[in-house]
Subunit: 213 residues, 2 copies
């Protein structure tokens, strides 16, 4: 009667006093980040939201930062999943990488709390091996997708790493700028949905911006 938790599918671990406090804390934290920002998130408030004492979180996370890191790892997993399912629906090579980029931006916008935590400087400064591994997995998937596209003949060969870097940077930068509201006053981004922005970015990356000679 303490807290309504999803009652199904995970009976294996953690059901002593609370049900699944670790999960509840992560959910509460995500909600707090959503409403108050990353640094507005508080261990004690998360504990309150989960109806436990202010020190209960320390049985599941060694520190506030480590809870955020757990959230970041989780988010990275969701992102990777999102990219994978997006790509799966594509029929040709070009649509494939358009979907890839679109999925990245859509994740950033619609899972803003997770995304913010994933790239918060607090988390970045205290990165653990697990988090680094999760980030690398995502980037490698990105790179491999481009590699497949290259082998399909759509894009120039021999510079996948370069292309992946630029593509990821552009998508990531645009997502950050949008999330921070920096682009709100620019005509190009003011009224555009993330999907359109991603489309715009990728098409520009593909063709380049040089004038045809």
């Amino acid at each position: 009667m303490k807290k309504s938790v999803t009652p199904a599918t995970v009976p294996d671990k953690a059901a002593y006093h609370h049900g699944d406090l670790r999960r509840s804390l992560l959910d509460a934290a995500l909600g707090l980040v959503e409403s108050h920002g990353v640094q507005g998130f508080t261990l004690r408030e998360a504990a309150r939201a989960a109806n436990v004492s202010h020190n209960a979180p320390y049985r599941h996370f060694p520190s506030r930062t480590h809870l955020l890191i757990a959230l970041a790892i989780e988010g990275q997993g969701h992102l990777l999943q999102g990219l994978q399912t997006a790509v799966r629906r594509a029929t040709d090579a070009r649509e494939r990488i358009v979907r890839l980029g679109t999925a990245y931006m859509e994740f950033a916008i619609s899972h803003a709390a997770h995304f913010r935590v994933m790239f918060s400087s607090d988390v970045a400064r205290n990165r653990t091996a697990d988090l680094t591994a999760a980030q690398n997995a995502t980037f490698e998937f990105f790179e491999n997708e481009l590699l497949a596209t290259e082998q399909g003949g759509l894009i120039r060969q021999g510079a996948v790493q370069n292309h992946a870097l630029v593509g990821w940077s552009a998508l990531h930068g645009a997502a950050m700028l949008v999330l921070d509201g920096v682009l709100d006053n620019t005509a190009i981004a003011a009224r555009r949905k993330p999907r359109e922005m991603a489309h715009l970015i990728i098409e520009t990356l593909l063709t380049g911006i040089l004038a045809p000679d």
Copy 2:
């Protein structure tokens, strides 16, 4: 005798008790951000560094966040200056925008503390009109540079806003990823200086990544 301040060129304002406490606080804050990160920065520690009581900062900034915002505005000014001087040294159109991008990334890396504050979510959430104006000025300069290049015939016409968005996003994203250490394990960025990365990014943006048909 309290604190060594630059003794020249600003005698007009603020010399009551301290000398120029506002300036000292900003400097101290910048140092703290550099060593402990944005959220590691503390009003009280900045006050200590300036040899004043823990409440003295409130005579110059209404809150901790507003001090950070002041720092962000200052950083935005420095960035704009950096872009302007970088561009001034260019001889042809292509070199001009290469220099523009290089300057952005070099600023982000070598003035990391300012840059982090400028795009910290704390500051973003409480953006003031002053800060928005400063950000817009920088973006407009970026856009105008591209417009000039377009008129010079180097780049495709009729899509400056689009090109500016993609260019800025790519540079900004790369800077963020580098600062957060996300790229440390990637072959492409591990041992590269910001200048080389910027070069790489801009060349790729210019020519695009499509295979020549």
